[in-house]
């Protein structure tokens, strides 16, 4: 881009966000809410926060992220609550740390929620335009240029381009440039990024065919109703129950598998037409049939996508086989004999920016002021995207203010694990958040996201007085209830016996505390409260959390001590521009990896795969050597 070109005054912003998906919207909202003058540029405004795959929010790890976004002051939980048509609590019997919500959303309502939030947000300017160039001077972002020739200036630009960059859709052996669901792709920007010196890679994802609800024999299928208990995602929402939009289960069979096997010669995946790597956790149905030949049947969920829509999403049935095969595959499923496909399934390849090029606050290492969030970083999922969006928005705004960037520790939340994994280890397939990726999982629960993130959100100016006041009241009530349970002693042997009536609950002497009883297998807060009622009945949320905190006390303490042990390493900063070539004794492989990732702390360095504890010890000595050397130089 030519130097010296100047836009109009009204085209000068603090922060520009490119892309209006889940990452882009959260980024734009956070940045403008923190007082930065923000521009959100979207290819098509009617695509704002579109759900091109399954219109569902939550599930293990993803639901945790949505709660964290909410606690920090983001929009996703409210958007999900505002559009839910079906909701369930998952993993109820597997433990508090993995218990989480999954909601089926009306994709139009969800889109409208974000659309309204962005349109009405003071300090945020929403525009439909296509960015073709990023304006970079001397390693710093200056602004962007769009397809119609407008130049917008800003010192911070957030890339949240999803799968649009260099998008290419495959259906059978047919392929064409396209964004998701037939949207126009953005071909020019990828070139501009490469020219700016960013390394760009290729990934692949896909989606399922959508079928017409009127052509499915629903009576033949097993129903999965929305939960009878009221639920909501947001810490400030009102829990509700839902009906009328059940999900249904069907299964693949031998016929389906036969159609798939006989179509593999026309599969873009198996013929090598697709170069990008797809996710292992979300394989296409043809992948499953090939990789697990002994499995006779796979579950398929039929799910509604919106209140006023006849389109049905087929969960677990992602495919990029030719359309004629898709028709036969769908019609082999029970209940779908006469089903009519409205949109075919497809695979989509797209450009991504391998995320080890980013700082742990999502800013590019080589281009100051350029932030990346969402699928461009190699992730998959609306929740993963929104999490990075809010963090990028916050950090762009902090950078405008000239303040220190915000880095979320792995021990604080899933968001921290997500970003740390991306920038430290990178990813070779679309990255999906999983609870098993978190080493401090028992601390990072769905129920305590507010404790972990709201103080931060408040400090950043993302939580208003009203929401803060509600949390304070809740936290006080929780503290009081835990204290009460720990101090209340039960003396009536019969009451104790009633509480400990379960087969594994054991026995207890009179004088035992309510908390000690609550720790026993099978004992619930309600059972204890019957014998030792509280003065004032606490909210359901407070009750549940008190129970979790007490039951998990020992395990929580154990993980806290693990966090403490790692703390020192997380605090030792690695100075900028350190020359790994000059550290004696580092193994060559470690030297290369450290130089490529350029970690910020010893803790981060230790998580790079292949870097050994000995390398970290050497690095620490070298840092101290440098520090003393500089100190001596100053003295002289």
């Amino acid at each position: 881009m030519a130097r010296g070109e100047k836009g109009l005054e009204e085209n000068v912003f603090d922060v520009i966000v490119i892309g209006g998906g889940h990452a882009g919207c959260e980024a734009a909202l956070a940045s403008s809410r923190m007082g930065a003058k923000t521009l959100l540029l979207n290819l098509l405004l009617d695509n704002t926060a579109m759900m091109p795959c399954n219109p569902s929010i939550g599930g293990p790890a993803k639901g945790h992220l949505t709660r964290e976004i909410d606690a920090l002051g983001g929009e996703q939980a409210a958007a999900a609550d505002g559009s839910t048509i079906h909701i369930r609590m998952l993993n109820t019997s597997k433990g508090a740390a993995v218990r989480t919500l999954r909601a089926q959303c009306d994709l139009r309502d969800y889109h409208l929620w974000y659309r309204r939030a962005c349109d009405m947000q003071p300090g945020l300017c929403v525009m439909q335009d296509q960015v073709t160039d990023i304006w970079i001077e001397n390693g710093r972002v200056r602004g962007v240029r769009t397809g119609i020739g407008t130049i917008y200036e800003a010192g911070r630009v957030i890339l949240a381009t999803g799968t649009f960059l260099g998008g290419k859709v495959h259906i059978g052996l047919t392929s064409f440039p396209s964004g998701p669901l037939g949207q126009v792709p953005a071909p020019a920007l990828g070139k501009s990024l490469r020219e700016a010196g960013l390394q760009v890679g290729r990934l692949k994802t896909g989606t399922t065919p959508r079928i017409h609800a009127g052509t499915v024999d629903w009576e033949a299928l097993e129903r999965q109703e929305s939960a009878p208990e009221p639920y909501c995602f947001s810490h400030w929402g009102t829990p509700k129950t839902f009906s009328g939009f059940a999900c249904f289960l069907t299964r693949t069979n031998n016929e389906t598998h036969e159609v798939i096997r006989s179509s593999l010669d026309r599969s873009p995946l198996f013929t090598g037409a697709i170069e990008g790597r797809g996710p292992r956790y979300c394989p296409s149905i043809e992948d499953r049939v090939v990789r697990f030949p002994d499995k006779e049947s796979h579950l398929v969920f039929l799910e509604p996508v919106a209140r006023d829509s006849v389109e049905i999403y087929m969960q677990n049935f992602t495919t990029s086989l030719p359309f004629d095969s898709q028709v036969r595959m769908v019609r082999s499923l029970p209940g779908c004999r006469n089903a009519r496909i409205m949109r075919p399934g497809y695979a989509i390849e797209y450009d991504f920016v391998p995320p080890t090029q980013l700082e742990p606050w999502l800013e590019a290492k080589n281009i100051r002021g350029l932030f990346c969030a969402g699928q461009i970083n190699g992730t998959s999922g609306y929740e993963e995207a929104a999490s990075q969006g809010i963090l990028a928005g916050i950090n762009a705004a902090l950078s405008v203010r000239g303040e220190e960037p915000l880095v979320i520790e792995r021990s604080r939340g899933y968001m921290g694990v997500l970003v740390d994994d991306l920038v430290t280890r990178g990813t070779e397939e679309p990255y999906r958040m999983l609870t098993s990726r978190c080493e401090y999982r028992l601390l990072l629960r769905h129920d305590n996201a507010d404790h972990r993130f709201s103080p931060l959100g408040r400090e950043l100016g993302l939580l208003d007085d009203e929401r803060w006041r509600i949390l304070q009241g809740r936290w006080k009530a929780l503290e009081k209830e835990i204290d009460r349970l720990k101090k209340t002693r039960l003396r009536d042997p019969e009451a104790i016996g009633n509480i400990l009536s379960g087969p594994e609950a054991g026995t207890a002497e009179p004088g035992v505390t309510a908390a000690e009883l609550l720790k026993r297998p099978g004992v619930t807060w309600e059972m204890v409260a019957r014998a030792a009622p509280p003065g004032q009945e606490p909210d359901t949320e407070v009750r549940e959390r008190a129970e979790i905190e007490i039951k998990y006390e020992g395990y929580i303490a154990r993980q806290i001590s693990q966090v403490e042990r790692m703390k020192r390493m997380e605090q030792v900063k690695i100075p900028d521009g350190i020359d790994y070539g000059s550290i004696r004794g580092l193994l060559n492989e470690s030297r290369q990896k450290l130089a490529a990732v350029r970690p910020r702390t010893l803790g981060q360095a230790g998580r790079i795969s292949g870097v050994t504890p000995a390398d970290i010890m050497l690095l620490e000595v070298f840092i101290e050597q440098n520090r003393r050397g500089m100190e001596n130089a100053r003295k002289e």
Binding site: N54, G59, P60, A61, L90, N91, K94, G95, A96, A97, V98, R280, Y281, C282, P283, R288, R291, F292, K295, H298, L299, F301, Q315, N316, L434, T435, S436, R437, E439, R441, L442, E504, R520, P521, G522, K551, Y552, Y555, Q559, R565, R568, I583, R584, G585, S609, G610, T612, P613, A614, M617, L618, E620, V621, F622, E624, Q625, R628, G629, N632
Partner: protein, 454 residues
């Protein structure tokens, strides 16, 4: 610095004194907890040696010791430090170290005492380079020692334990992360049974490790050379008694014979290998294969040459295979007229020490032993071998405790999430022994075992 670290800071030896060294805040009181002397360490001024006994948790006296503590910053590491000098040698020192670990100390990483000394300002900038060198060489030595221990049966057993833990974790994690999938439910009873199976596997391994059956240490010395040059006679000369079958028929030693002797407090594991030559029959072929394995695993090779016969092409071929990492040459049969000169051997293996001996008369044997110890000890930090073994035992012990905790968690009705966290910790201990990264192997296992969608 964080935590109390401990290690044995003397090399092997059945005789003499072995020292357990500790560093970190609170190590004086930790040592005092297992020390019984006329005066408590806590009421002893720093740098005063106290005589007493190390007692275990049951009050049993383990060893007679001298104990001393240093107040930070006036210690080698610049922080509170302590030393226990065990009179019972290495075995007593290991028991003493075990006690310290059970009281909350952890095994020091290779070079960690030196690293702390530097970070705490006890070593100056000029010494920084050598600090880096020490950390590197000790880590390398430790890796070599670990690899040596991991060959053969130990490795198979540890890998089996790891595999079993991984499978159990993958099963559990898959059901937590993918609740709507076709994953068969994990019932607590079968999970408990598998955990108890794992803990039994670790227990067996630990008991044999503690009795030293395969985590044996010492300098492994391979006696090698052509048939009939007198390797077995040399072995006997070392042992001063007849163990191997010694005849003048070439190829008599078909098996690998191993004996441990102690020279100046350093245990030497002597391995008498079959003569290296093209085998004539199946039994001999097996013998040669074992000999080559033994040579590969050894710390040092003694190339035995018959000095009464001229060097052949075969000799030169053998020499090449023995050079790396470390070799000593013994020109044998000095009781006969020698035709091989030290000079001609040095031409083949430049820089390699050469000794002229007679295994038959016992001449030059002591000097050869000296040379072996010198050649190995000059290159490496021998205490690292000992500490590596200790580290492996420590990890096995922790894995054992954690597996039992996981069983307790399961039977006390804790959620699958909590149980799996404890299993993860246990698995990490085992992964560290094997030197593999935990997170990727778990993901691999989940995705290869389960067909997972959403």
């Amino acid at each position: 610095m964080e935590g109390i670290i401990a290690a044995i800071s003397t090399a092997w030896g059945e005789s003499g004194i072995a020292i357990v060294r500790l560093s970190g805040d609170g190590c004086r009181d930790l040592v005092n907890g297992i020390f019984r002397g006329r005066t408590d360490l806590s009421s002893t001024p720093p740098r005063f040696m106290r005589h007493g006994y190390i007692v275990d948790e049951k009050g049993m006296e383990l060893d007679e010791v001298l104990a001393v503590w240093f107040k930070g910053p006036f210690s080698y590491t610049g922080e509170e430090a302590a030393e226990i000098q065990c009179h019972g040698g290495t075995v007593a020192a290991r028991k003493c170290l075990d006690l310290c670990l059970s009281l909350g100390a952890r095994m020091a990483c290779p070079g960690e005492f030196t690293q702390r000394a530097f970070l705490n300002g006890r070593l100056d900038l000029i010494q920084a380079e050598s600090v880096l060198g020490i950390i590197r060489s000790r880590s390398d030595r430790s890796l070599q020692a670990a690899a040596k221990c991991l060959r053969g049966s130990l490795s198979t057993k540890v890998a089996e334990i790891h595999e079993e833990m991984l499978e159990l974790s993958a099963f559990g994690e898959a059901s937590l992360d993918h609740p709507d999938e076709d994953i068969p439910p994990l019932d607590p009873r079968s999970m408990g049974e598998r955990l108890s199976g794992i803990s039994e596997m670790i227990r067996l391994l630990l008991s044999s490790a503690r009795s030293g059956r395969f985590l044996r240490e010492g300098i492994k010395v391979a006696l090698s050379g052509k048939p009939n040059v007198g390797k077995s006679s040399l072995m006997n000369a070392f042992l001063q008694e007849s163990r191997s079958i010694v005849t003048s028929m070439p190829g008599t030693t078909r098996d690998v014979i191993e004996e441990v002797i102690s020279h100046k407090g350093v245990p030497l594991r002597l391995v008498d290998t079959a003569g290296l030559r093209a085998p004539r029959d199946e039994a001999e072929e097996e013998g040669v294969k074992r000999a080559l394995d033994a040579i590969r695993e050894s710390d040092i090779r003694v190339w035995v040459i018959d000095g009464s016969l001229p060097l052949s092409e075969e000799d030169r071929e053998i020499a090449k295979t023995l050079m790396d990492p470390c070799c000593v040459v013994a020109i044998n049969k000095s009781d006969l007229p020698l035709v091989v000169s030290e000079r001609s051997v040095e031409d083949i293996l430049p820089g390699t020490p050469v000794r002229v001996i007679s295994a038959f008369c016992g001449q030059g044997i002591e000097e050869l032993k000296d040379q072996i110890v010198l050649a190995v000890a000059g290159r490496t930090s021998l205490d690292e071998d000992l500490n590596t073994t200790e580290r492996q035992v420590e990890e096995l012990g922790k894995a054992m405790d954690l597996t039992i905790s996981a069983m307790d968690a399961l039977s006390s009705g804790a959620g699958l999430d909590a149980v799996l966290e404890v299993i993860r910790e246990a698995r990490e201990c085992i992964s560290r022994i094997l030197g593999i990264s935990t997170d990727e192997s778990l993901m691999e296992s989940v995705f290869s075992n389960f067909c997972i969608g959403k």
